[in-house]
Each structure stands twice: as C-alpha cells, then as structure tokens.
Symmetry: C2
Subunit: 328 residues, 2 copies
C-alpha cells in the first residue's frame, strides 16, 4: 500500500502556484501526493494538470494567526485537513510550507504525540557536500526545554539520522559554549550527564560541541533547545547569505571581475546544488504519530517536490513506528 | 597623559612570540604598550627589540584552570598583574588572548565592576565591508541572564557602538526567534517590554531580530544572553570556515579551476582583510572599571596589534567614564 503525502497547497510565500507545481513534479517522479486546499484555486493554477488529486479545504490560516486558536476554529483549513488525512490513514505523511506554529499545532492536536514522548522537536537536516549530513534538533519547536527533553531529541534525531544516512551509530553532540562537561548554561549542565547515561545503543554521546563545530561535523546529531537551535540555524542562513552578497559585490566590479564571477558560478554550481536548502526540502517534526515535514516559507516548486519525497521516504522507512518502538 | 596598554604576554595559542611581535608593531605605530609576563621568556623572544617595557609576572594561567581560583591564587600571574596596572592607574587598558574566564575574573575581581552595572558583558564587533559594524553583546560572559541585564547590555553596547562608529543613535535589536513581540523564550519575552521602555536617548529599540538578521544589519547592536550570543558568534565563524573550505575544494580541481581560484583570491583580498577577525583584534568586556579587550585564543601578531590599538582608542575615548556616567 503506497499512501500519498498530504500537501498543504496554501502554505508558504509562493502558495498555491509553486506548491501545485511541486506536487505535479513529485507525481511525475512517481511519488503519490494529494493537494489539500481550496479546490477551485488549486485547479486554477497554471501548473495543475489533473494528475494530482485535490482534497477541498476552503479555509486558509495566515502567517500571523495564533496557531492553536487557528487549528481549533478553522476546521476546514488545509492544515487541519492534512492532519486528518494522516490520522484517518488516507495519507502517509503531511507537508506544509506555511505557518510553522500552526503546522506544529495541527500535528500535535490532530495527529497526536507518540506515547512517552514529552515534546516534539524539529529536526533540520544540514547538507554537507560529499559528506554525511548533520541533524540539528530542536531547531524551533520548544523555546524552553527540560534536560530530559534534550535526551529524547537525541534519541529521535539519532533514529532519523540512522534512517536517512545509516551505516554506523550516530554521534550526538550537545550544543554548548566550551567543550568541557562543566561549561554551558543550566540546561546544558543538567543535560550533559543525562545524555552520557543514555549513550549506547541508539547513539554515542560525544560531549559538548560549539557553534563552529556544527558544520565541521564534530557530531552527526546536534542537540539543543528550540530557541538556541533556531538562532543557530538562522545564523547559518544569514552568514551564507552574507558570504554570497560579498562574493557578488566583488564580482560586480570590472569586466574582468565579472568574467571571473561567471567561471566561479560554473565551478560552484554542482556544490551549491548539494547545499541548497531546496535540496533537502524541509525539516521533520519528530515525536508526533505521523510523518510531518515543515518546509521553508520561501519554498519554490523544487523545495516542495523534495519535501514530498522526504516525507514519503520517511513514511516508507517507518520513522514513526521506529520512534514509537524506542519509547514504548 | 598617554597611558600604555597592559598586554598579557602569555595569553593565547601563539604566546609569547606572536604577542611580543604584536606589541612591537603597536609600539612602532606609536601606541604605548607594556608587555606583562615572565621577563626572561619575553626578552628571549625573537621579535623583542627592547622598545617595549616589560613588567615581570612569572606565573602563567593555563587554558584549563578554574578562572576564579587561578586569579585568587596566582598573584604573580600576567593577568593579575595586568589588572593591577589598570587599577593603579599605571596602564589605561588591558588586553589578553588567554583563558577568557580568567581574563574576566581578573577584570571583575581586580579592576571591579562599574557602579550599578549588574553584570559585565562581552561586546564583539562584527565587521561588515563598506558598512558600519554590528556589536553583538553578550557574546559569552553570562550564560544565564535576567531581563534587566539585557537592558544594561543594550545601553553599554550602544555607548561602545557610538564611540566606535557614531553619527546617529544606534538601533538595538533583541536576538530572538520570530519578529513579533510575543515570540521567543521566557527571557526575551520579559526583556522585550523593558528594552522598549528604555528606548530613547542612548539607543532606539527596533524589536526582535533573528539569526539571519545579524549580518544583514537589521540592528547596530544585537542584544542577547551570553549563551545564545556565544553560540551565534561561533556559528558565524563555523559557517565562514565551511564556506571557505567549500571554495577551496572547488578551486583545487583542474588546472583551470586553480587559475580561477587564484583570481578570486586576488579580487577578494581587500574585502577579506576587512572582515578578518584579526582586523578587529578582539572583543570588549563592558561594565568593568577599566578597558579590557579579550582577544581570540588564536591571535597572531596582527590581531594583537589591532587589539592593543582598539584598547588604546577606547581608553582615549573615555569608554569607562561614559558608561559610568550613564549608570550613575
């Protein structure tokens, strides 16, 4: 049984056009997907061919709305409908590039938490060219965390990493300041011994890692609270953008500089493709009873297609069952 | 009266050779400096010409030592001697590339806190090519913070920014996740209204900023707790290093790629010079009764020279008096 991915047609800056386009591309590549949103609007999109089924959900949740309230009151919204399709077993996973808080609320209240998981966490996959990717968890779900939640994030992140990469026991690092056990804030000082005690079967705890160690691959899974994780993730994005602006300004000088710039662009294209956020497609909300992929608000068709692929493959690999098994 | 800068000759990975070299360079450029460390070792350094006075301090504080304990017991250490020179008025400022915790402890216990300042914070200057730099405070002094400390960091950071850049009232942003007032963790939610209330004379509060806004210059001064600030700072460093590794690997392929790489290096050199951490020289520990510059552990001679210059100029600009005046 190949269950389709329920895709929120109204989520993100480029909805519904780019979402519909992404869904069509995923379908062409053989990944089953259903579009969930206001049926007429979806069908009116230029990219819509009729190859992808549409589930009507006339209500839309805006980026600024209160997430929990929106999920409770807008029962005909695309997000609530996506979650219901997963719960009823008609869809195998859900994907949205919309309001992150509302997506989490839909997954949490409608799909539900896995038994014994205290809080869901967002696992972001950081691609490293020619190397294994790094998982950063929690990258934004829980702004305030207890030490034991970080241990759960480590376990869930490690299971995700193993399914996605595998081949060995993932190394888990605790994001902190200073490498020694005593260094950090109250949360990391308490979490350190708990992670050490949990080290073994699912992951190997390698101690504290610092901000500069994340992309240096000192750990396969970097564990942190959702506030710090989100700041770190967005700081990486911002630094990348800064660097790209810097290069572009350097290459916009003389004609010769422009020529060098063109050559650099050619050389760097295959690597840029590997590290581009669109290639990953999105982050996984781990700890809920269904595969839920949260895509970037700026997602275009390619990002959406890859998010649908990621969601589908995680469902095929029984991500949820594997986490549930661990937390039984 | 041109007071010299007291420079810890034994701090950092390349001490004492690179430190002595940096001191000699600063002296050649007319910045008064004294080297503080084991006299014989300092005098034995190749770069030592005798132009820079040496204050004997035979004891050395290691990177792994407990900071408060080391400062209390090693009274003949270079760090304690540096702090004493500032306290006695023989030096105008102190600079160290050694153990950050020990440098802070020396400044805090020997030089002392400015009246009404609750906690000192580390202000890091982030250089932006052809634009005003951004100050990130606290980048590592206080791992756990109260909301009112963040307001003090904003004030001190703004005074520092005004002395260093000036020309207008600095915009202060609160590092958080999500731009709206209600977004963030408990600390930022409480600090937001306090920063809003303090907005006016010294700085203009522009609300929450996210990780990706730091280098995009959405604020001149980015305020955060020392844990988050240190993670953000090191994540920027790590992302930069990642990007540089990426470029180098791309340019190490064919002969043609190597040729493109050489041209890029030529084009980028003037910009790289501007953003290189060595150009700034170090971060300011704000809130103590003396100018204290904390340099990177990996500082070479150029970084040290620039750190000495930064310390000297902040002393000349009456940084400490200006903060004290504000907190009276």
């Amino acid at each position: 049984l190949d269950l389709p991915v329920a895709l929120d047609a109204m989520g993100g800056d480029h909805a519904p056009d780019e979402i519909v386009k992404g869904a069509e591309e995923a379908a062409r590549e053989g990944v089953p997907v259903v579009l969930v949103g206001p049926e007429e609007r979806v069908r009116a999109c230029e990219a819509f061919t009729g190859a992808v089924p549409v589930v009507d959900a006339p209500e839309v949740i805006g980026m600024a709305e209160d997430p929990a309230m929106a999920i409770r009151t807008k029962r005909n919204s695309s997000l609530v409908r996506c979650a219901e399709l997963v719960t009823s077993g008609l869809a195998g996973a859900m994907v949205s590039a919309g309001n992150t808080g509302a997506t989490m609320a839909a997954a949490l209240f409608k799909v539900g938490r896995i038994k014994n998981v205290s809080r869901p966490g967002i696992a972001s996959l950081l691609p490293i060219p020619d190397e294994d990717p790094v998982v950063l968890i929690d990258s934004g779900a829980q702004a305030e965390c207890r030490p034991e939640w970080l241990v759960q994030f480590a376990q869930m992140g490690a299971i995700f990493w193993s399914l996605r990469v595998g081949g060995r026991t993932p190394r888990v690092g605790l994001l902190s300041i200073g490498e020694e056990e005593g260094k950090g804030n109250e949360l990391t000082k308490k979490a350190f011994p708990e992670l050490k005690a949990a080290s073994g079967e699912v992951f190997e705890f390698v101690g504290n890692v610092e901000g500069r160690d994340i992309l240096a691959r000192k750990a396969d899974v970097v564990v942190t609270d959702g506030f710090t994780g989100n700041v770190a993730l967005k700081t990486m994005e911002g630094t990348f953008e800064f660097f790209v602006r810097l290069l572009l300004s350097v290459f916009s000088g003389s004609e010769e500089a422009k020529e060098v710039g063109r050559k650099v662009l050619e050389l760097i294209a295959p690597v840029a493709e590997q590290v581009h956020p669109d290639t990953t497609g999105g982050a996984l909300l781990l700890g809920v009873k269904g595969v839920c992929v949260i895509s970037h608000g700026r997602s275009g068709a390619r990002a959406i297609k890859n998010a649908v692929r990621l969601a589908h493959s995680m469902e095929k690999d029984h991500l949820v069952a594997k986490i549930a098994e661990r937390f039984r």
